[in-house]
């Protein structure tokens, strides 16, 4: 049995010790939500382009059946969360960063929950070539469940092109309130470990670290117990200090391996692949049980709900149903966030469905009073907590003046938007939001430049073409003229007569 041990860890700059706020939601076991009568399944549940529906309206589908196929390089397929009938494909409020509404497949449950049977399950992946295994993972619709929803198969396919040394499963879950990974590791540790084994095979790696924050003794215990039963020496638990944002991908790599992911690079640049523990469990379910990613555990919590709880629910379940499982709203509920309090996204309605990315539904009562922003007094507290060691007080200055050159020089694009600087700012400046906007403006400017450059090239090409055509025409005319002169006056008269006849015939016609 491998007990959780603290190895020589790398050190994170800055960061914050935040109150966990996780006790309330971890007091009960994970509740299983009943399948609602109607599910709203967004076609974009991953970073890339929307998946393409492969079913018709009115068609009956089985649970786990493919209903939309991956389209484009960073897309992932989507499967029916239950059996029933497709009643519509239409825009519906969603909780993603792509806008307020998005195209959704509306599925009416038949109440039977009959599963589509995938063959050869459990799949004997040990005898599969890693490439085939990756292709199979792609078909499971699995995306990063830590919140980034990068399609897992593509991430793994990219990873195997680099020399790899470490697989790290991310069970850190450093943001306050969120506890779905904690509960998963407590209650379904065997699936996490099974996923770890599959991932090691797919990546051709002989070791795997599972990183868990030190404030999750029950999760560590759950994993350690399951690991004892599994007896796989390749998997090692690693306890990391409870400090936000140790669960950020690059930050975790730094903590576990003491290597820095280069600016603009990926963990694979330093030989690391990071996968969320929930993703590992989803891979296990798909490879072992033939169940694609159609459900997930989500934390429904905050002082805006009566009894916070973790719920395992089907993708597409309206958030209002999950709130009901948590005992409904308290009187003070005023803000709904999908994700955690540091990096989540506020939504305006609880009609939004649960998606693959929804690790937490946070309902809060009080929020920062608006219009409370004061000038920056340059206290530098933000720089002390920045895990990237940026100088937010300088960046803020340059963001206000839209100084793109200095923004780049001061590393705006390296900002991970963790929100630490906001929390320590005595002037209550929404730094993260300002930086997000500055980044967007910078991207826009770059796009604009690229568009102008393309237009310039197009214009120059067209001018050159026109010039060439003109020259060609002139050369032809000159040639004809020469030929006519060479042929003499009789020939010229003949040509003119012929033209006149031709014109007359045209007129008569």
């Amino acid at each position: 049995m491998t007990a959780a041990a603290t190895y020589d860890l790398g050190k994170l700059h800055g960061g914050l010790r935040l109150p966990g706020e996780k006790e309330a939601s971890t007091a009960r076991h994970v509740q299983t939500a009943t399948v609602p009568p109607q599910l709203f399944i967004p076609l974009t549940q991953h970073v890339g382009e929307a998946a393409q529906p492969v079913i018709d309206i009115g068609e009956a589908v089985l649970k786990g059946q493919l209903i939309a196929t991956a389209y484009g390089s960073l897309s992932a397929p989507i499967h029916a969360p239950t059996s029933g009938k497709v009643v519509a494909i239409e825009p519906w409020p969603v909780s993603q960063r792509h806008g307020e509404t998005g195209p959704c497949i509306v599925l009416e449950s038949d109440g039977e929950d009959v599963a589509f049977r995938y063959e050869n399950r459990p799949l004997r992946y040990e005898s599969m070539a890693p490439d085939d295994l990756l292709q199979t993972i792609l078909d499971g619709g699995i995306v990063g469940l830590g919140g980034a929803v990068f399609p897992t198969a593509q991430k793994l396919m990219q990873a195997v092109t680099a020399p790899l040394t470490h697989l790290i499963l991310n069970g850190v879950e450093c943001e306050p309130y969120i506890s779905c990974d904690d509960m998963l590791m407590r209650e379904q540790a065997a699936e996490v470990l099974g996923g770890a084994q599959i991932l090691m095979h797919a990546l051709g790696l002989g070791n795997c670290f599972i990183a868990v924050e030190s404030d999750k003794p029950d999760a560590i215990h759950g994993l350690a117990t399951a690991l004892g039963e599994l007896d796989d020496k390749r998997i090692v638990l690693k306890q990391v200090p409870t400090i936000y944002p140790s669960g950020g991908e690059d930050q975790l790599v730094q903590l576990v391996t003491n290597l820095e992911v280069p600016s603009g690079g990926l963990p694979t640049d330093v030989g690391c692949v990071v996968q969320n523990v929930g993703t590992a469990a989803a891979i296990y379910r798909w490879i072992h049980d033939g169940e694609p990613l159609i459900s997930r555990i989500t934390t429904v919590t905050g002082d805006g709900v009566v009894s916070p709880v973790n719920v395992e629910a089907r993708i597409g379940t309206p958030v209002s149903e999950l709130i009901a499982i948590a005992g409904g709203y308290t009187e003070r509920a005023s803000q709904m966030i999908v994700g955690g309090p540091m990096t989540g996204k506020s939504v305006t309605t609880d009609r939004v469905p649960l998606v693959k990315a929804s690790n937490c539904i946070l309902v809060l009562s009080d929020v920062i009073p608006p219009d409370d922003e004061k000038p920056c007094i340059r206290c530098g507290e933000c720089a002390l907590v920045c895990p990237i060691q940026l100088q937010p007080q300088q960046l803020y200055w340059f963001a206000c003046s839209d100084n793109e050159k200095q923004l780049r020089a001061h590393g705006l694009t390296d900002c991970i938007e963790c929100g630490c600087c906001d929390l320590v700012c005595p002037s209550h400046i929404p730094l993260t939001a300002d930086f997000r906007q500055a980044k967007a403006r910078m991207r826009e400017m770059a796009d604009e430049k690229a568009r102008a450059e393309r237009a310039r090239l197009r214009f120059e090409a067209r001018s050159a073409r026109l010039q060439q055509e003109q020259a060609e025409r002139e050369r032809q005319l000159a040639g004809q003229k020469q030929a006519a002169l060479r042929a003499g006056p009789d020939a010229i008269r003949e040509i003119l007569d012929r033209n006149r006849d031709k014109n007359r015939q045209d007129d008569e016609a």
Binding site: H13, L18, P176, D250, E260, V261, P262, S263, G264, G265, S320, S334, Q335, M336, I337, G339, P341, M342, T343, G344, K345, S346, V347, T348, T349, D350, L362, L364, D366, V367, I368, K374, P375, I377, R378, C379, G380, A383, P387, I388, Q389, Q391, Q393, Q394, H410, G411, D414, E417, G419, D422, L423, V424, C425, P426, S427, H428, P430, T432, A433, R436
Partner: protein, 350 residues
């Protein structure tokens, strides 16, 4: 159910500018008590006048600049400026001198540069230096500290009020009768006239390290500074930088030639050293912000203070040193940016 839209993060910050400034004011209380004890109630008059004119100057500028007057005055930053001015000025200062300093600090040094957060120069020090240059006589009138065996005249409330309001004494008192050179003046003049520091040490006004009375004000100021450090209102780099910048050259010169140089302990416990290290140089707006930059910034202030005290024409140099280093702040910040995580390790600067 419907909700409002907002940007992450959704956590209320734990601190605010007003509370930071208030804590700086609290931290000055021990020093203020010591000051009043040794130099009389004039400090309180100065503080009141400075506070009134700082508030008035700030309010007027805010109105002119169409900024909300109440919310900005409520951040207490003008009060910190007023307090620092009161500490910098002699206990006996006519009100118009204090008012000039306060108005210059607020109107020119602070608001003409854009108000809190945008001022390049420390407002209190800018105001102080203006009156130091404009009213040199008034700024030289220090009394002896109230210590039993010293020849002092502890001014009554009436005498102080009268002088503050009119700049005159009752008939039985005269300027010359009560004014005393400060230890810094004495030592500077002494060293310049070839007396040794050892000789000067035996003067009754000299204490264990610095001037008597002044040492204790220094101690009480340091208590407030330590509290600010504990509360993480200020960070250690600037105070350590200032003290190192002052004590290192002072120590070296004293070590090699103790006859013609004053001891580092004397410089530490004289004039505005400790107040400067913990309360003036640490004004966040005008100081460098990176940890390394703050050390350099502090060191520069300490070193310049020593240079001015030792070789300049002014007895103390903290105010000039702070203003000079204020000018260097943007460059220091630019050159001491820490390496961003994930960026290649590079050589100095960039």
């Amino acid at each position: 159910m419907d909700f409002e839209r907002r940007d992450a993060p959704f956590v209320t910050p734990s601190t605010d500018v007003a509370s930071v400034m208030r804590q700086v004011l609290y931290a000055l209380i021990p020093a203020a008590l010591a000051y009043v004890w040794y130099f009389g109630p004039g400090f309180i008059f100065n503080l009141l006048i400075a506070a009134i004119f700082c508030a008035a100057g700030e309010a007027a500028m805010l109105r002119l600049r169409h900024r909300p007057v109440e919310t900005v005055l409520g951040d207490f930053s003008a009060m910190v400026t007023a307090a620092l001015l009161a500490f910098a000025l002699p206990a006996l200062t006519p009100w118009w001198v204090t008012a000039t300093a306060a108005l210059f600090a607020m109107v020119v040094a602070k608001h003409l540069y854009g108000g809190l957060g945008f001022n390049l120069f420390n407002p209190a020090m800018a105001g102080y230096v203006v009156v130091l240059v404009a009213f040199p006589m008034d700024l030289n009138l220090w009394t002896a500290p109230r210590i039993g065996d010293l020849d002092y005249h502890y001014l009554s409330l009436y005498e102080t009020a009268r002088y503050t309001l009119t700049g005159t004494f009752p008939d039985y008192l005269s300027f010359d009768a009560i004014s005393r050179a400060t230890p810094l003046d004495v030592v500077k003049a002494g060293l310049n006239s070839m007396s040794t520091f050892e000789e000067m040490r035996s003067y009754p006004m000299m204490g264990d390290f610095g001037g008597r009375g002044w040492e204790w004000i220094g101690n009480f100021t340091a208590i407030g500074g330590a509290w600010l450090l504990l509360r993480k209102i200020i960070r250690w780099q600037i105070p350590v930088g200032v003290l190192t910048g002052l004590l290192l050259p002072a120590g070296l010169f004293y070590f090699f030639d103790p006859a013609v140089h004053a001891s580092p302990g004397f410089y530490l416990f004289s004039g505005g050293t400790i107040l400067g290290a913990f309360f003036i140089a640490t004004d966040p707006v005008t100081a460098a912000t990176s940890p390394r930059g703050r050390l350099i910034y502090g060191f520069g202030i300490g070193f310049l203070t020593y240079a001015i005290r030792r070789w300049g024409s002014y007895a103390d140099g903290v105010a000039f040193a702070v203003l000079l280093m204020n000018m260097a702040t943007p460059a220091i910040d630019y050159l001491t940016r820490p390496r961003i995580v994930g960026h290649p390790k590079k050589t100095w600067g960039r």
